[in-house]
């Protein structure tokens, strides 16, 4: 198993190295190198998954650490942790990665930096696998940054576009804010426990090395990394902008895997979060869920809708972690990865078709991503339409889909928390409100894109279904959105009971003093909350879908009227609650102004007076020294004197140089004898 893990980790790296150095010279620009590596990775993950199913052991774990370096008092270990969670995550990452690689061969066809694109994809796959396989905080941190780097490279892949390079920089910088918190957290744990390994850190926490307050702060610091990477409020601003990257990248990195790294990280660390930290996490997740879904309702760019939808779904997962139902957070991560990657790839297919239609019409002005320019495409793009519909249904949480199961479980966890702590009723409101809006905006997207009359007839006529390398991944991902794949061997579509819940079981918190409820208590609470949560969520999902049908399919309620009536919320939502503008006004502009003041001080005062003044003094001093001392005394007497005496001695000594090697050898031997004599005497 451990060999499989290492192979899974290193194969994409090898592909990256090959691609970046010789990719351009290989046939087909070397895309087969990356695809081959990722496919083998997928097969290995599948094999591991098979082994896991055969074993069917919830406690299966391989944890191996190697010493990396030893500085005496400081020994750092790195290592690999393989348990059921790792195996499932590896399968998700490699599956989506493989599909995206295949899809990209068609989507990126003809791009001048085709081979580099695949190199970056491989780099990303390598780093993501690294996060999943690491058994220590330092390893996760390193791969965390690598993932950030590959995300930066891929968002800014079309760096000729200013918007793309700006978005890449923004993603990098915003992530950095969270990562600094994460680094502080890691160091807090390291200085106390002397180890980065999860097992040591957990043991340290359990033995009471930390006071509850410190543990809360340290846990939240670590969680700050997850806030950045998983685009939680208030660091969510980078994810929508990241849609400037190629759409397959959005599907892989900004929907299915990388943004889920934060959730995965919180999942791993759940046992060390204190109750206070968990409540903060739950509020951040819940608020992000509702906040992002409100924004998604009014967006017109198809990818922006999906981006905010991703933010909101990540909020759900974080909410699940905060509510203690963290295995269900991971469950939602896995199901969401399939259908959200499917949705992104579908939108990519649509954009691809629109782009080509505009291209044929020589229209370079219109935006191929704007849903207002689409409409009625279901007859032209049959496969895309059907797969997108299935994924949308799954995201909306309609029964018989995987999304229903996982979202329902998350909501049940939230409901259970509120039942025990009624003061946190807002979390339930956030959760169910987001569910309602999710169903609404997703069907709004489908209706605006695929139904109704096309806005421009001539564009519509040029729309074609995408080629099979693009549609095949869509079909695969849409198929995986059915409940069956996640509940086997159980066939009940209304119960999440299956291999996943059997194999991935919640662990008890290691926070000392029994502050947190045990895993058993949480499961008990969720059991009670399950039925009401399910009924409520079905009602809400159909309510949202019904509203979307009324407004966008049958047009019985005018969307514009609604917008006018709800002017303020509409404006806020359309402008994304002015978060970016707020940051601009209260964070970026003041820091720019401050920089200008400092620059002024530096240049006008320090440079002109202090530095230049010093320079003048030095100049005067050196002129005096130069003439009086340097030339007259030093140069004339000492320097020239050395030269003269050398010449004198040389003239005398030149007769020693006979040019005969044997004479020289005699002198060498004389030297040897003298050394011997000196040694003998002393």
């Amino acid at each position: 198993m451990i060999n499989y893990g290492i192979a899974i980790l290193l194969l994409p790296l090898a592909a990256f190295v090959t691609q970046i150095f010789v990719g351009k010279r290989l046939p087909r620009n070397g895309d087969w190198v990356s695809i081959g590596a990722v496919t083998i990775t997928f097969c290995l993950s599948l094999a591991m998954f098979g082994v896991m199913l055969v074993k069917y052991d919830p406690d299966f774990v391989i944890d191996e650490a190697w010493q990396w370096f030893d500085l005496g008092s400081l020994t750092v270990h790195l290592g690999i942790l393989i348990d059921n969670v790792t195996v499932v995550m590896l399968l998700v990452v490699s599956l989506v990665s493989t599909l995206v690689h295949v899809y990209s061969t068609s989507y990126m066809e003809g791009d001048p930096r085709y081979s580099r694109y695949f190199a970056f994809l491989s780099l990303f796959t390598f780093s993501m696998n690294g996060i999943v396989l690491a058994n220590n905080l330092l390893g996760i941190y390193m791969f965390w940054e690598l993932v950030g780097l590959s995300s930066y490279l891929l968002i800014g892949f079309w760096f000729e576009k200013n918007s793309a390079s700006d978005a890449a920089k923004k993603a990098f910088l915003v992530n950095r804010v969270g990562d600094i918190g994460m680094f502080i957290g890691i160091m807090l744990f390291f200085t106390s426990t002397g180890s980065f390994l999860f097992s040591d850190v957990f043991a340290g926490v359990e033995s009471g090395l930390f006071s509850t307050e410190i543990l809360t702060i340290a846990g939240l610091c670590l969680f700050a990394g997850a806030i950045g990477k998983s685009a939680q409020f208030p660091l969510h601003v980078w994810l929508p902008d990241a849609m400037e990257g190629p759409t397959p990248v959005s599907a892989l990195i900004h929907a299915a895997t990388m943004v889920a790294a934060g959730v995965y990280f919180s999942f791993r660390l759940f046992p060390i979060f204190t109750p206070t930290a968990l409540i903060v996490i739950a509020y951040i997740g819940g608020f992000t869920a509702i906040f992002a879904s409100i924004i998604a309702v009014t967006q017109n760019d198809i990818k922006k809708v999906l981006a905010y939808s991703t933010v909101s779904q990540l909020g759900y997962m974080i909410l699940a972690v905060g509510a203690g139902a963290y295995t269900y957070g991971l469950f939602h991560l896995v199901t969401h990865a399939a259908f959200k990657a499917g949705l992104f790839l579908c939108s990519g297919s649509v954009i691809h078709a629109m782009h080509h239609a505009y291209h044929e019409l020589h229209d370079h002005e219109s935006d191929p991503q704007d849903m207002r320019n689409m409409g009625g495409m279901k007859d032209k793009m049959r496969t895309t339409y059907l797969t997108m519909l299935i994924c949308t249904v799954a995201l909306a949480g309609v029964p018989f889909t995987s999304g229903f199961l996982s979202k329902d479980a998350v909501l049940a966890g939230t409901l259970s928390l509120t039942m025990h702590h009624p003061e946190h009723f807002l979390l339930v409101v956030f959760g169910f409100g987001a569910a309602l809006l999710t169903a609404f905006y997703m069907f709004r997207l489908v209706f605006m894109t695929f139904y109704g009359e096309p806005t421009r007839r001539e564009v519509y006529d040029h729309i074609h279904e995408s080629p099979s390398p693009m549609t095949a991944p869509l079909v695969t991902l849409a198929t995986l959105s059915f409940f069956l794949f996640f509940t086997l061997p159980n066939l009940n579509p209304f119960s999440d009971h299956g291999w996943f819940t059997t194999l991935i079981q919640a662990k008890d918190s290691v926070v000392p003093g029994h502050l947190n409820p045990t895993a058993h208590e949480i499961a008990e609470g969720m059991h009670h909350a399950h039925t009401p949560a399910m009924i409520l969520s079905i009602l809400i999902a159909f309510g949202g879908i019904g509203l979307a049908i009324l407004m966008y399919l049958q047009k019985k309620i005018s969307a514009d009227d609604m917008a006018a009536r709800l002017a303020l919320p509409y404006k806020l939502s359309l402008n994304k609650f002015f978060v970016d503008e707020t940051y601009q006004r209260y964070l970026i502009n003041p820091s720019l102004a401050f920089s200008k003041v400092v620059a002024f001080l530096d240049w006008e005062l320090y440079d002109k007076y202090v530095i230049n003044g010093l320079g003048k003094v030095t100049e005067w001093f050196s002129r005096v020294v130069g003439i009086r001392w340097d030339y007259n005394v030093l140069d004339q007497q000492i320097v020239d004197g050395v030269g003269r005496s050398t010449r004198f001695f040389g003239a005398g000594l030149k007769f020693v140089q006979t040019g005969k090697v044997q004479n020289y050898l005699v002198w060498v031997l004389v030297g040897v004898i003298m050394i011997y004599v000196f040694q003998a005497v002393s």
Binding site: Q657, G659, K660, Q662
Partner: protein, 101 residues
């Protein structure tokens, strides 16, 4: 029985004779023979130490390497001597005193 010192003295004699040859001979080839004598002196020492220091084969391996080096050195040195002969018309190395200038 013959002891270590005997071999070391033989080695020292060989070394001194070789050194004398290197210093005094005018012919390049003869200088080379002196160098071979010096190398053989070193080898005798290696093997003698191996024999009397508890039969450690490291000394043997080292003398093997010395023989290899001697072969390489002889080939290159003779090539150089040939070159000197071709360009100066002599192999007497005291006439090859271009180092003087």
């Amino acid at each position: 029985m013959v002891g270590l010192n005997t071999y070391l003295i033989i080695g020292a004699i060989l070394f001194s004779l070789g050194m004398f040859g290197v210093i005094t001979r005018r012919n390049g080839v003869a200088v080379l023979m002196g160098v071979e004598l010096i190398l053989n002196a070193a080898n005798v020492n290696f093997v003698a130490f191996a024999r009397f220091g508890g039969m450690d084969f490291t000394g043997h391996v080292f003398s093997l390497f010395v023989i290899i080096l001697a072969a390489a050195e002889a080939a290159v040195a003779l090539a150089i001597i040939l070159n000197i002969f071709n360009s100066l018309g002599t192999v007497n190395i005291d006439e090859a005193n271009q180092l003087k200038q």
